[in-house]
Symmetry: C2
Subunit: 408 residues, 2 copies
């Protein structure tokens, strides 16, 4: 069902010197399915991350955050699917720690140098014995050319593996950026059941990497929504192995901007892939809000549109029931919005102006755009210079089917 | 599909002296379907109302608000289905005024003594000529015993007419309260595509009626949600004809409390009927949040649960995928929520405690409750004495079908 999304060409996923990846089928929830991923990072690597803001964040999130905060070099990341180890209390934390212990033993490092990640069903005990048993196979599989397999290993309800790479020259040094992500439902700003891992061989200072990961998240994973639910397990990790010859990149330099733009490009591709593979998605929708007094209110309006089940079902039906767009804008919580100043476009078609249907709007023009698999909704508020763009999908029968049958 | 909801017994819907109702099939959207309702109020009647907070509120909402604010006696209310006259700009306002003009001519009053209401598809021009043509049939049909027909005439995607009546003694005077409502989708707090009209023959002062309508809305129509969408047209009107012999009821009196409790009871029955008839609903769910620091945060948590598509599809599937409840609570926006203090119950079954699955919880107990058609989710936050209750329904295939095909 994914909207204009095909698996990446494995050959395009360039290795990042200093990152090895190994996968195995540990039988965590299903047998014979790749469900465990180990990433080993070389000496000199730095890692920064952003995590879910859900107060019920999962045990691995708590442990990964704690380990990152210790400031030690991170030696490995371990990711399991099939079980989120969320809503599992102190027992869940013990199991996340046990996962790190097992990786540390296998790789000969300290458990606090390992970051754990989990995704899958929540409120069920993590089958730690299966994870421990699966780690040796991951170690044996470690290879710098394993990005495609890694993308497959972290899939849950995803129908397509998500990975992307790019290259650029920074001060004459070839720099590689390669990333993978998973996520298809429970997607929403502020990190939603998604995991994203992007690595670069660039040499980036610790403080620059901390800023970079936040800037990249805000421009990519924090701009997508499938169903407005934010997961307990979201994490986006940025790894810089520093194997290139350049001096450490600092913030507010041309090198930082160059690197940031390239990482944002990879992250946006991955984030959009999550929406394209949104549970039951049949349409990929860009919502752009312009003319706001501030970026915050533009985002509010954009999410009000993107989260409205009535708007989402109208897209599914290819039905230009465009009053639903106006109703969603009116519901966005901007108390002093003057609806007479609002215009709405579907692609280039002016649908509404001055608070109502535009006199020149013809239903067949709206219908033509609605039939497309990729649609841009543009709302112009007439209040100022700010703008914001987010990406979402429609709400279909298939979404209900997937989420009603997830555990069965 | 309505959940444990049957049409009211027409004989139970007692007339309210001073209110006459007349309906007709004006062919506004479909032919042969009752789609126009006229309510005529006797001398001495007072009317108060609350309206949608959607900034794109419909033309009839603007006109009804304006007419109410003039403080003149309201002579009649007119309601059409099939077209919401929303997102229609100044032309829509002219058509709403034309509706009032036509009623005023037919009844011999001033147009400003008429309140117009519309519900149905948005952003299409109101077929005013059909409404004008249908009014004489409504006038000819005016009758105090017509509440059931009125409930039928205001239905849109409703599958069951919604009406309810009660009686009480106030200072030895028999007082009647009868009401009707419509709404099945696009339902959310702060008034959602719902219309509600409740009349009483009690004599209520103007200021007491203004307070009463707000208190009643807050305890009923503002506590329901089907899909989180707030309509452009919602209105709840409370009419007191004052034909009973009692002196005007003022606020802060025992008589006020008596009357309020009875009106709340009628309004809650109507509000819950809207949820029971929620588009595609197969479950009626009460969400009660206790132990909050304030009622506001209890409502936030309750709505986070009620609006989560993942929670709603789990209810549809009768699947005790209860981690989704925890995730929704964690997403409710209470930044300092200590999840270790949170407990969650499904009816009497303790599901989660101390931030995770309760040690005594067995899946078959959750499964048993989830199979019921009526379920209470109770979240105890452990932060204070406040509580709040709202009502919602599940998210099913049928919801998608109804909303994807609404205009076709």
């Amino acid at each position: 069902m994914a909207v204009n999304l095909t698996p990446p060409d494995p050959l395009s996923l360039r290795a990042v010197t200093g990152v090895e990846l190994g996968v195995s089928a540990a039988g965590i929830r299903y047998s014979g399915r790749k469900d465990l991923l180990l990433m080993r990072l070389g000496e000199g690597s730095r890692v920064a991350g952003v995590f879910t803001r859900n107060r019920f964040c999962a045990a691995p999130v708590l442990v990964a955050r704690e380990h990152l905060a210790m400031g030690q070099r991170i030696h490995a990341l371990v990711v399991n699917t099939g079980n989120a180890n969320a809503g599992t209390g102190s027992d869940g934390i013990a199991r996340a720690r046990a996962t790190c212990d097992a990786v540390a033993r296998a790789l000969g490092c300290d458990a606090r140098q390992v970051l754990p990640f989990s995704t899958g069903v929540i409120m069920e005990p993590l089958p730690i014995e299966r994870i421990v048993a699966g780690i040796p196979a991951c170690v044996a599989d470690l290879d710098a050319g394993n990005w495609f397999g890694a993308a497959e290993a972290i899939m849950t309800t995803d129908t397509v593996p998500k990975a992307c790479a790019t290259r650029l020259q920074i001060d004459g040094t070839e720099t590689t950026i390669t990333g993978i992500a998973k996520g298809a439902g429970m997607i929403r700003p502020d990190m939603a059941t998604m995991l994203g891992f992007i690595a670069t061989d660039a040499n980036v200072s610790g403080s620059a990497l901390d800023t970079l990961v936040q800037e990249v998240a805000d421009a990519s994973f924090n701009r997508i929504t499938v169903d407005g639910d934010t997961s307990t397990n979201d994490a986006f990790m940025l790894m810089a192995t520093g194997t290139t010859s350049n001096a450490p990149i600092e913030i507010d330099t041309p090198q930082y901007t160059q690197l940031r733009d390239a990482v944002v490009e990879v992250a946006q591709t991955l984030a959009q892939a999550i929406v394209r593979d949104g549970e039951g998605a049949t349409k990929f929708i860009t919502v752009r809000v312009e003319g706001g007094a501030g970026e915050d209110e533009c985002r509010k309006v954009a999410y009000a549109i993107a989260h409205s089940p009535l708007v989402k079902t109208a897209f599914f039906a290819s039905d230009p029931n465009l009053g639903r767009l106006l109703a969603a804008i009116g519901n966005s919580g901007i108390g002093d919005l003057e609806v007479g100043g609002v215009s709405v476009y579907l692609d280039e078609v002016l649908v509404a102006s001055k608070g109502g249907r535009d006199p020149g709007y013809r239903d067949e023009d709206g219908q033509r755009v609605m039939r497309q698999s990729e649609i841009t909704v543009r709302a112009v508020l007439g209040r100022g210079p700010a703008h914001a763009t987010i990406w979402t999908c429609d709400l279909s029968h298939e979404y209900v089917t997937i989420n009603a049958e997830y555990r069965t």
